[in-house]
Amino acid sequence: MKRHLISAADLSRGDALLILDTAEELAALADRPIKKLPTLRGRTVVNLFFEDSTRTRISFEAAAKRLSADVINFSAKGSSVAKGESLKDTALTLEAMGSDAVVIRHSASGAAHRLAGWVRGSVVNAGDGTHEHPTQALLDAFTIRRRLKGPGARGSGLDGVRVTIVGDVLHSRVARSNVLLLSTLGAEVTLAAPPTLLPLAVDTWPCAVSYDLDTELPKSDVVMMLRVQQERMTAAYFPSVREYSRRYGLDAARMTRLPDHAVVMHPGPMNRGVEIAAEVADSARSTIVEQVANGVTTRMAVLYLLLGGTEFPEVAS
């Protein structure tokens, strides 16, 4: 494994499987009377969140605490923290406080990468702009493997699993990280979205593209619905929310087109009634609640593998 986790592309198939298998062992912890391990005692993890987040921040916090690390939460919510210089100053402050790992969420793509050049510890990207969110992809891969292959599927990838990612790919860091990671693990990924919500260079991504959700559903083992990110929509990407919902939303009628074993995923938070109907989100196919629980487990695995061993040798910057 590399010293930082910035992009899902940093992970080789071996790295990804090591994280998933480690998470598989750590999953048992949730059923134990004492849900804590002493492994990261004396290590400090800083949660540096420049953007709103509940589940990701809490998930990282729970993961670090279950491994006995000390957690410092830094939230720049509402403040006018600018990029560049001030991010660097924050980084140097954290450095002085002796942090061993920084978990960063930032609205600027590439913020985690910049930070990695300034601090000595490991940097974990918890979402940078519309770029990447690698731990979300890891927890999604973990959830898919557990659902389709059972909890005992150690060492196996997702070879041949057909995953359809639906919706606002353009603004989605979750989609990009998932395409990279799932294809590394051998899955066949298809993006289903209106042309206006696909990124420019999507033809260079390791996946197929479709504009029609209905033809993709019967061939899918996994359907991953993306949130329509209204806060990032500065132009008219589709005529109306209602029209989007009719063509790309997953409702109960559409769900019947899926094969019996197929599962429905959503990274949250959901817009019920827009990209996913309430009866789909609450159905037995939905993995949405599992994804939250698996998030803690997967992030524990990442923190353990980055911080649990020898410190990484100094890298000249």
Binding site: T22, E25, P33, K36, P38, T39, L307, G309, T310
Partner: protein, 191 residues
């Protein structure tokens, strides 16, 4: 302490126990466990990965043969409790698999292949504390090679093997290594 996987053929080393001797040692340990626990009631065998796990299963099978008693058997991974984690890159975890009956109020017998510094056993005792509260904990090992660094001793020993710290002891088991043997070699000469 054990080698990772390959059969011995061609490796420079001296066999100190062969398959027959390992079988006899385990048979004796199984009898001793029955004796010391007054018939093996409430005993749980927990193997420490990798090679402690098949050893625990073999002991459970033997106790089953002798007394017609089904002894619960599982595995206990100690990686997250080790004191030397920071000396090496983070390593993959082994499996922890507790029998459904749990460990509360039971006599837990930890099973490992080689007893050396005692640090693995210390980690196992810590890991066990987080899983429940056994009535008693005992330790069974196939080989005790000495050089303890902690006040820990085994209750059941397959063979006491005086070694120098330069030497390496490899336990090979059919379940993992395709054959049963205990080998001793000079570190400088092992591949």
């Amino acid at each position: 302490m054990s080698a990772t996987g390959q059969p011995v053929a061609g490796r420079d080393g001296l066999a100190v126990l062969d398959a027959e001797e390992i079988r006899r040692a385990l048979t004796r340990i199984a009898h001793e466990i029955l004796e010391r626990t007054h018939g093996g009631d409430e005993v749980v065998l927990l193997g420490i990965p990798t090679r402690g796990v098949p050893l625990a299963r073999r002991l459970a099978a033997r106790i089953g043969e002798f007394e017609g008693l089904e002894v619960p058997c599982g595995s206990l991974d100690v990686t997250m409790h080790r004191d030397d984690l920071r000396l090496r890159p983070a390593r993959a975890l082994g499996r922890t698999d507790l029998p459904a009956s749990g460990v509360d109020g039971k006599t837990v017998v930890l099973v490992d292949d080689v007893l050396y510094s005692g640090r693995t056993v210390r980690a196992a005792l810590d890991a066990l504390t987080d899983l429940g509260r056994p009535r008693a904990v005992q330790l069974a090992v196939l080989v005790d090679r000495g050089h303890r660094e902690l006040p820990i001793r085994a209750d059941y020993v397959g063979k006491n093997l005086p070694t120098s710290q330069r030497e390496v002891v490899h336990v090979l088991l059919a379940e993992v290594d395709a054959q049963d043997a205990v080998m001793i070699s000079d570190e400088g000469r092992t591949p």
